[in-house]
Each structure stands twice: as structure tokens, then as C-alpha cells.
């Protein structure tokens, strides 16, 4: 049996993080990670056929389960989505790496970095490479990287992203175009060969 973290505990952490307390995020992260992961797994075992996962639905469900609706400020929902997008990214990348590792036969032998990049294939490898490129982008242009994270990993639409980042929808669209073109370039240039 696992214990569900108390709603008010998470709500409290969320509020603290929104107020700028970074250590609240460290506590919040694993709690949300577990919940999202559990939901995703459950969702996948019920909905095996299509193999689709609606991120926003998932995050909404996690939000309802984790956050005490009565005691939370509206803006906290945006924050929750922002952190959830980050976590979804982490969950997928963790799995992609594990998947690639399992495919190599449990890592019985050491492989060089360049070989590992070649061995991983398909979705897993694409996600891992996208994640790497996104880190590079974050160093150059944090907001554009966040737009991609919110949209691609968090499943938010442009309007929601505009809300989270407190910018106009037009800006989100422009950021997205630039970021996507750049990421595409990075991924096609660095494709494993």
C-alpha cells in the first residue's frame, strides 16, 4: 500500500513555490512525479489499444487529486501545469533511457557515448535527443525552451501557455516557430549515423 500525500501538504508546497521558495519545489517534485507516473501507468494499462495518453487530461487528474481546490489560488493552477510539464518530460525521458538500456540487453557491456546514441532507436531516441537539444536551447533562450516544454511535454495549448508565461498568444506562436525550427535543425544535424 502506498500513501497518497495529503492534499493540503501539496497545496501548501505549491503556494510556497509560487512565492519563490525553491526548496518547496524539491519536495513537490517527487510527489507529483509519483502521482503522474502512477496515473500514466494506470491509464496505459486500461487503454492499451490506442496507446495514446492525453497529457492535459492526465495533469488535470493529478491536479484534482493532489491539490486542495478550496485553498489554492487560481494562479497556482498555472504553476502546477508548468511543473507537471517539466515532470512529464522527466518521466518520458527516464523511460526512454531505461527502454534503450533494456534493449541493449541490460547494459551487460560498457558502450561508448556515441555508440549508445546509435543503439537507441525510434521514439525513445528521438525524445532523448530532443531533451538534449532543449537543454541547449534553455541556455540560449529559456522562454522559448519553456514554450516547447509546456506544449510538447505538458500538452498545453497556446492560450494556456500564454497564461502560464504571462505573455501574449502571438508571442507564444512566434516563440514556438523559432524554437521548433531550431530544434529540428539540431536534431537533423546531430542525427546518429
Amino acid at each position: 500500500m502506498r500513501r497518497t500525500p495529503k492534499q493540503h501538504e501539496i497545496t501548501q508546497l505549491l503556494a510556497e513555490w509560487s512565492d519563490g521558495n525553491q526548496s518547496a519545489l524539491d519536495e513537490l517534485y517527487p510527489l507529483v512525479y509519483d502521482e503522474l507516473h502512477r496515473l500514466a501507468r494506470g491509464y496505459m494499462s486500461r487503454e492499451r489499444k490506442g496507446h495514446t495518453l492525453q497529457t492535459t487530461a492526465l495533469i488535470n487528474e493529478a491536479y484534482v487529486r493532489l491539490v486542495d481546490q478550496r485553498n489554492v489560488h487560481w494562479a497556482n493552477r498555472s504553476h502546477f501545469f508548468a511543473i507537471s510539464a517539466q515532470i512529464m518530460r522527466r518521466i518520458l525521458i527516464d523511460h526512454a533511457r531505461r527502454y534503450a538500456y533494456a534493449k541493449r540487453g541490460g547494459g551487460a557491456q560498457q558502450v561508448s557515448l556515441d555508440e549508445a546514441a546509435v543503439v537507441t532507436s525510434g521514439i525513445g531516441s528521438e525524445l532523448i535527443r530532443l531533451d538534449e537539444a532543449l537543454k541547449t536551447l534553455a541556455a540560449l533562450d529559456p522562454r522559448r525552451s519553456q514554450v516547447v516544454e509546456l506544449r510538447y511535454f505538458g500538452g498545453l495549448n497556446n492560450e494556456e501557455i500564454a497564461g502560464v508565461l504571462n505573455v501574449s498568444e502571438n508571442t507564444v506562436t512566434r516563440d514556438w516557430n523559432m524554437a521548433r525550427a531550431w530544434l529540428y535543425q539540431q536534431l537533423t544535424e546531430s542525427a546518429p549515423n
Partner: protein, 616 residues
């Protein structure tokens, strides 16, 4: 890149993409001034923007795509496309698991509709949820199914059942050239035999303007029984001309290069067969396949790969710059073979064989020179072969002169037809035909039995059990005019390539013609009976009723001699029949059984129906 540079690029990019064509060009040039590197960066990014939006790059949501990764591999067989023995997938029943590839699991399965053995590749969920890889599969199925050549693996069906995507292909009981080689050198006749068959496959593909682009020993199968070579995996194939009948997804060289680099299966160790132009991500054409074949030939002769460095990078450099190590001057590599290999592996495509056919001719000539008594083996093999099971009883018709006469006419008509090749249907779960026309054929069977010294004659609608010495005659008619072909295929085990007898047309029946008028009744055989010998099992009578004459099949009339019961004695021709049947088997005819008649209907221009006669 510095954040300042990034900001600069981003500012120009932002405005540039809202402009079109010339205006965009002018704007970018204006903004960048003399800074060429800035302009090149911006232009590159604009090109990426176009590609990314055309490909809907990261267009969906990561979780939709990557959800499958979240499933525990041990926990969920279904997600990996794993099936159990006896499990049913559409009309296929799984017999056993053959192995796993990069794309999913491969099974030996029985197609219960057509009662034949197939290889069933079930795609793992991470593949089938990946648009790009699915595109590859569709492409492979589409491309390969347009190629009807004995050395190209036949694709039967690409479909989806219960959320599982699968590819059903001809089953080859054999091993890949990679396993076959296993670091050993092959004897010269075998090298030539394999290379000639690969080139025959490539020649057919290239004729259809299809470049394989991934020729390597892993993609060449050698059938255990008869060493027939099959080229597989047209997943990376590219159609070189837009006007070709086969529409490909996208055609840019950028895409081709990206595909080569990112395609699963292009793992370590498989870049060794890439041509210099592939290694440099340049435009690739037919001559790239020639290079790869040259590399394989080299490896077959020497037992080692000509280009193989400690890392991918080293290997690529060798491919681009280094001449292959000279071949040992052994008996296995006569000067002429060396010349052929080196010509195939010329760094510049211009210096290579320009077509697979040219290389094929050189290899065939070499084989001829080396063969003391050319290809007498085939004939002796055939002479030793057992008489076929179902034979036409020799009931008093001398047809030899008529046959000779008829064969001459038929030969004149027997030009190979491309029309037959291009009608291969690609099917969804329950195959749906493309064209509107429908063929209808009605048949019944006259049976003559002798029981307790008494002869009985009666008719049945078809599939019943027969006994030794029962004699039968097939009766057919159609409300439509058309051309009829009937082949008999005797009982066989497993995946052996069958031998066929041609039962219709014959030199005598119907004035030697395959064409029937609407409503015309035809008896097969016309003047005699078919009888069963002692071999038990299922005899198939393949009924083919086409709107127009099928030149490939017309040519087979020359085998319709009562002496041999119409046994087709040429292995090539048997393969041709087999391929024809396989490529037309994807759709299932609608069968209506009356009291004494069976009527078969099938959409399209060619009706194909196996009439099963069980023999006890």
C-alpha cells in the same frame, strides 16, 4: 552561439517567416548586410522551419507518442506485439515465433483463408504509434508489392487487427546472407549464383525506378532448400522518378539523408555497405545499390568487409577515400571477378556499372566461362522427379502435332506483361479491392466412381473427400466473357515451393484458347478425367478467371502435354505461377454454395479461387 547572436537571428527570422518568396529573400539580405554567416544561419533556420512544419515535427504531444515507453516491458507483451502459439490475428494463426527484429516480433503463421504459410511481422506498439516508421512500413509494403520478381520477397498484406499492425510476407525457410557468410569465404560458383540473383532482383527494382538504398547481407535471405535468394526490406527504398506509378511520401534528399541516418536498423555495423554518396548524404540513385552489391561480393569472396574501421567515423572515411584492400589472387577470385567487383565499387558513380543489368550480364558471362557443362543439372533433376499426383489420364488423344503448332502461336503471344504486376492489392484487415469490376465464376464437379464393380457418375458442388481411383472432371461457366486458367497444385508440406500442372488451357480444349464466351460451359479435362493416385492430402485446383488474357500465364500452355499431365517442368515458370498466385491472393473471393453449384465472385479484373479437393 552567443545569446546575442541568437537574439539577432531570432529577430530576423520572426519577421522573415511572415513574408513570402522574393520579399523574404530581399528582407533577409537587407537585414544581414555583409554578414554572410548571419544570412546563412537565418536561411538555414527558415528552411528548417518549412521542413519542420511540413513534417509536423513535434506536432503532437510527447506523451501520446512516448506513452508506450511507460509500459513495463515485462508486463505488457501485447504492447510489444507478442503473440502466443495458436493465437489468431485476423485470418492468421500463429504457429511459432521466429524471432525479433528492430521493428517487432516475427512469427510463422498460417493464413487460414488461403491455407498457406506466411511470415508475420507484428509491429511493436512504439513502432506503430510512430508516424515516420509507419510511413516506412507502408512504403516497404507498397514498393515491394509492386515488384513481382522471384528474388524479391513477396508481400501479401499490410494491415491492422485489434490494434496490432502487421506485415504478412512470403515465408522463407532459410537464413540471411549475414548468417550464411558468418565470416567464411564462399566458393566461386556460389558467390556468382547469389550475386546474380541479387542483381536480378535489383534489375527488376531499378527497371521500376526503385532504388533499394539499404542493400546489405542482413537484407538478403537464402532459402535453405534450393538456395534461392530473396532481397528484402524495401523500407528505405526510394522511387527515383516522380511520375512513377508508386507515389512516395516525400522526396527531398534532405529527407533521404535524414532517413538514412535515423532509421532504426541503421545500427552499428550496417553502415559498411553504404556508398560514398550515401556516406556523404548526397543524392543517391541506382548506382548506389551497385556499390553495395560490390561490397557484398567482395565480402563473399574474401570473407571480410572491404571497409570496416574501429568507429563509424573511420568506416565512413574509408568508404569515401580509401581504395579497398586488393583481393587475394586465389582461384576463388579470377581476374575477371576482381574487375567486376572493383568496377562496382568505383568511388565515383560515373565509373561504376551504370545499371544492374550490365553487371548481371558480366557475372553471367563469367559463370558461363567457368561452367564446363552449362546448366545440364536442371534437366537431370527434372527427369528424376516423381510423377505428379494428379495426372490427366491418357484417354486416347494424340495431340503432339497440335501442341507443337499451338506452342508456336503461344510463344508469339507470350511477352511478359507489366499489367499483371501492377495489380497487386494492398489490403487493410479485410482486404478491400480498389476497382469496381467484378468477376464471377460458377463451377461444379462431375465424379465418376467405381464401387463394387459398379460405375457411378454424379455431380457435386466442390469440396468433398475423394478416394483413390475416383475420377473427376471440373465444369465451369461464367455469365461474363473472360480468360480462364486452371492450375493443379499437389499436396505439400510446410513452405516448399510447389510444382504446378497446367490443366487449362490445353492445346486441344476450347480450340486451344483460354478465352471463354459469356455463358460458355467448359469441361476440364475436355475429353478425359482427372484421377487421384495414392498420395493423400489436399489437392488444389487454382481457378483464375481474368477479364483479359494474362500473357505470363498464356505462355505456360506449352507445358500442357498429356504425357506429363501438364507438369510445368521449368522451375522459373513454377516460381512465376507461385508469385502470380501469391500476389493475387490478398483479396478473398465471395463464395456462394448451392446444392450442386458453387459460385465465386471477386471484385477486380482477376478472380482467383483455390478449389480444395481432399483426398483420402
Amino acid at each position: 552561439m552567443t545569446p546575442e547572436r541568437w537574439q539577432q537571428i531570432s529577430r530576423i527570422f520572426k519577421s522573415a517567416i511572415s513574408l513570402d518568396g522574393e520579399a523574404r529573400h530581399v528582407y533577409v539580405a537587407e537585414q544581414c548586410g555583409a554578414d554572410d554567416s548571419l544570412r546563412s544561419e537565418v536561411e538555414k533556420l527558415i528552411a528548417s522551419h518549412k521542413q519542420a512544419s511540413a513534417e509536423e515535427f513535434i506536432g503532437g504531444r510527447a506523451a501520446e507518442k512516448g506513452a508506450v515507453l511507460i509500459i513495463d516491458p515485462d508486463e505488457d507483451d501485447a504492447a510489444r506485439g507478442r503473440l502466443n502459439e495458436g493465437q489468431q490475428l485476423g485470418s492468421y494463426v500463429v504457429l511459432k515465433r521466429l524471432g525479433a527484429g528492430g521493428m517487432g516480433e516475427v512469427y510463422l503463421a498460417r493464413d487460414s483463408r488461403l491455407d498457406r504459410t506466411v511470415a508475420l511481422k507484428v509491429l511493436s506498439a512504439d513502432v506503430s504509434s510512430d508516424k515516420r516508421r509507419m510511413q516506412r512500413f507502408r512504403q516497404e509494403a507498397r514498393v515491394a508489392s509492386t515488384l513481382n520478381q522471384p528474388n524479391i520477397l513477396t508481400i501479401f498484406e499490410f494491415g491492422e487487427v485489434d490494434g496490432l499492425t502487421f506485415l504478412a510476407t512470403e515465408f522463407i525457410d532459410g537464413e540471411t546472407l549475414r548468417d550464411y557468410l558468418h565470416g567464411k569465404q564462399l566458393k566461386l560458383p556460389e558467390v556468382l549464383d547469389i550475386a546474380i540473383q541479387i542483381l536480378a532482383a535489383l534489375d527488376a527494382a531499378h527497371e521500376a525506378r526503385i532504388v533499394h538504398r539499404d542493400i546489405k547481407p542482413e537484407n538478403v535471405m537464402i532459402r535453405r532448400r534450393d538456395h534461392v535468394v530473396k532481397v528484402l526490406d524495401f523500407g528505405l527504398a526510394k522511387v527515383t522518378e516522380k511520375k512513377s506509378a508508386i507515389a512516395t511520401h516525400r522526396e527531398s534528399d534532405l529527407e533521404a539523408a535524414t532517413e538514412m541516418k535515423t532509421a532504426p536498423g541503421m545500427l552499428m555495423g550496417t553502415i559498411n555497405y553504404m556508398s560514398p554518396e550515401q556516406a556523404q548524404a548526397q543524392t543517391v540513385d541506382e548506382r548506389s545499390d551497385i556499390w553495395s552489391t560490390g561490397v557484398m561480393l567482395y565480402e563473399m569472396v574474401t570473407g571480410v568487409m572491404p571497409f570496416s574501421g574501429p568507429t563509424t567515423g573511420h568506416t565512413l572515411v574509408q568508404i569515401i577515400d580509401k581504395e579497398p584492400p586488393p583481393l587475394p589472387k586465389a582461384a576463388a577470385a579470377p581476374a575477371e571477378l576482381q574487375r567486376i567487383i572493383l568496377k562496382a565499387m568505383a568511388k565515383s558513380a560515373e565509373d561504376r556499372y551504370q545499371t544492374a543489368k550490365d553487371m548481371l550480364i558480366d557475372l553471367r558471362n563469367l559463370r558461363k566461362q567457368l561452367d564446363a557443362g552449362p546448366s545440364t543439372t536442371d534437366d537431370t533433376d527434372l527427369g528424376a522427379k516423381k510423377k505428379r499426383v494428379l495426372v490427366i489420364a491418357l484417354v486416347a488423344i494424340a495431340v503432339v502435332t497440335a501442341a507443337i503448332f499451338a506452342v508456336n502461336i503461344w510463344r508469339a503471344q507470350s511477352a511478359r506483361s507489366a499489367a499483371v504486376v501492377s495489380t497487386v492489392p494492398m489490403s487493410t484487415p479485410v482486404p478491400v479491392p480498389v476497382s469496381n469490376p467484378q468477376r464471377t465464376l460458377t463451377y461444379w464437379i462431375t465424379v465418376q466412381q467405381v464401387r463394387d464393380g459398379e460405375q457411378k457418375t454424379y455431380t457435386v458442388r466442390g469440396e468433398i473427400n475423394f478416394e483413390h481411383n475416383d475420377q473427376i472432371r471440373l465444369n465451369l461457366r461464367s455469365p461474363q466473357a473472360g480468360c480462364l486458367y486452371v492450375f493443379n497444385e499437389g499436396p505439400r508440406g510446410g513452405s516448399a515451393t510447389p510444382e504446378f500442372n497446367i490443366a487449362f488451357p490445353t492445346p486441344t480444349a476450347n480450340n486451344g484458347s483460354s478465352r471463354l464466351n459469356a455463358g460458355q460451359e467448359i469441361r476440364i479435362p475436355d475429353q478425359s478425367w482427372l484421377y487421384f493416385d495414392t498420395q493423400q492430402g489436399i489437392e488444389r485446383l487454382w481457378l483464375i478467371f481474368a477479364e483479359d488474357a494474362l500473357p505470363e500465364l498464356e505462355a505456360l500452355k506449352r507445358f500442357a502435354s498429356p504425357k506429363t499431365g501438364g507438369l510445368i517442368t521449368d522451375p522459373e515458370q513454377n516460381k512465376l505461377v507461385e508469385n502470380f498466385l501469391l500476389s493475387h491472393s490478398s483479396s478473398k473471393p465471395e463464395v456462394e454454395r448451392g446444392d450442386t453449384l458453387t459460385t465465386v465472385k471477386m471484385p477486380g479484373k482477376v478472380l482467383l479461387h483455390p478449389l480444395m479437393l481432399e483426398h483420402h
